[in-house]
């Protein structure tokens, strides 16, 4: 076991009534890796990410973050310094100004009084502004977040992650509701910033094309199992075909 393993997943399983969401998954992610989770809908990508984020507890198996059992990191604030999450929009408070949504990444370090004062007089303003500059939104600091477009909102979410500075970023379909140009832009920014900060990224994606372009390693899930786990250059079209093949089509092919 090398020192560089930031995530170790050992045989985790998760069942929902009758349905197997994850069946005995194991893999290891090294620090700084860019991993894309791909696979058909319902394959268990979101469940896996939520398990890694400790939002869902697995039925069996264990997850080690930096060698520590995830279940033992019960303090939400400690966990927030290890793991940050970005989802397909809806993760910002629309009524707040952009700067407060960015500074929400600081809440794990701030006490109650400081967070209260910050709503009136933004604290650590410089951190927030430079984060917004790095994601390319320098002029929207005080705008109401709900007035921003979908792509801009995802940038704000990225700025929040910059302020939160977790070691691992879990991205659940971060570009699912964006048009192709915006989607590429967000993925490019996400992976570039993570590289600059030396963070590890695990992102679930619908598009294999994006996964291949912006990530270095693909983990393919199908029916709760890992179908393949390969560096991008070793993923072949046959493997992808198998991954996305529908059962019905299999039978038709036989007839």
């Amino acid at each position: 076991m090398s020192k560089n393993n930031i995530i170790e997943v050992n045989q985790i399983s998760k069942h929902y009534e009758r349905k197997i969401a994850l069946s005995s998954l194991s893999f290891v992610v090294e620090k700084g890796e860019m991993v894309a989770l791909i696979g058909p809908s319902g394959a268990g990508k979101t469940t896996l990410l939520n398990t890694l984020a400790a939002i869902i507890e697995p039925d069996s198996g264990e997850i080690l973050i930096d060698g520590l059992d995830l279940r033992k990191i019960t303090n939400q604030k400690t966990r927030a310094r290890k793991i940050g999450i970005i989802r397909q929009q809806f993760d910002l408070v629309g009524q707040l100004a952009v700067i407060h949504n960015v500074l929400a990444g600081r809440l794990s370090e701030w006490g109650f009084v400081k967070s209260f004062i910050s709503l009136l007089f933004p604290q650590d303003k410089q951190t927030a502004i430079s984060a917004l500059e790095r994601v390319g939104l320098p002029d929207k600091t005080y705008e109401r977040t709900s007035k921003l477009s979908g792509g801009e909102q995802q940038r704000v979410a990225l700025a929040r992650l910059l302020v939160q500075r977790p070691e691992i970023i879990l991205a659940d379909e971060p570009v699912a509701s964006l048009d192709p140009a915006r989607a590429e832009d967000i993925l490019e920014t996400l992976t570039r910033l993570a590289r600059e900060e030396g963070q590890t990224v695990i992102a679930s994606l619908h598009s294999v094309e994006y996964a291949k372009r912006y990530f270095t390693r693909l983990i393919a899930l199908k029916n709760g199992e890992i179908l393949f786990d390969l560096p991008v250059e070793k993923v072949t079209d046959e493997l992808l075909k198998e991954l996305y093949q529908l059962k019905e089509l299999d039978q038709n092919a036989l007839v």
Binding site: A53, I55, Q76, K77, R79, A80, R81, I83, G84, I85, R87, F90, D91, L92, V93, G94, Q95, L96, H100, A104, G105, L107, S108, E109, W110, F112, S115, F116, L119, R160, Q164
Partner: protein, 278 residues
Amino acid sequence: MRKPKFTFLTFSVYVFLFLIAASWYFVVGVEKASLIELFSRENLQYAGKFFKGLVGVGEEKIAFLSKDSWSEAIKLTVETLQMSIMAIGFSTVVMFLTVLPAARNVADGTLTLSKKWYSFLLFGLIRISYIFSRAIPELVWAMIVIFIFKPGILPGAIALALHNFGILGKLCAEVIEDTDSRPIRNLASAGAGRMQILLYGVLPSVLPQFLTYILYRWEVIMRTTIVVGFVGAGGLGQQFKLSMSFFHYTEITLLLVCYIVLVLIADFLSERSRYFVK
């Protein structure tokens, strides 16, 4: 051919038709009511006298032309405004103190991601107090409060607040129950504590809606002051009842004018502030 199915819908249509027929039978056949009786010579005479009185025909003292009456009426208008502001103020304060534990998603911990053993006890107690407060009409609250204290605008305001805090509490608790929990859960995963979630997640998303409800209830309270005034809570309502009893018709006109002005002011203010919030 398929036999038409006897559903609840067809059943309710038959019941509806039957009820219409039966009601008409009762009105015409049993009660022997007639529309023409309403317009009898006597009633016409009374109505004529009343409306002529309102505009001041044949009255000795015409209130809306006298300076003293106007200053008296304006004083009462200000009192009524005070009563309504006090009432909405009291009920808003009490609502804010109780509304959080009264929301189901706060009680079961799904919104703030933390749950205490007493959450549901508190939830039940507050919800019951809301129902109790709403169930008793303002008029009854006013009679009780004025029976205990002496008549005046403060007891009137307390009575109105007692009825309205239950309404506001229920409405606002439902607003909290309807908030989108996704941004709030994300705050939790960014490491925000319970109070921080409240500040950054819950309050910003519910406050505009709260304000709308508070202003709406304020408008309603303004109108209801006349009702509690009848039982001695002061303000325009009380004077209205007195003028009515003494047959001072022109005073009634004056008071009604003041009333309409008040409601117009409330309407304007709530419209403006709602616009401002958006």
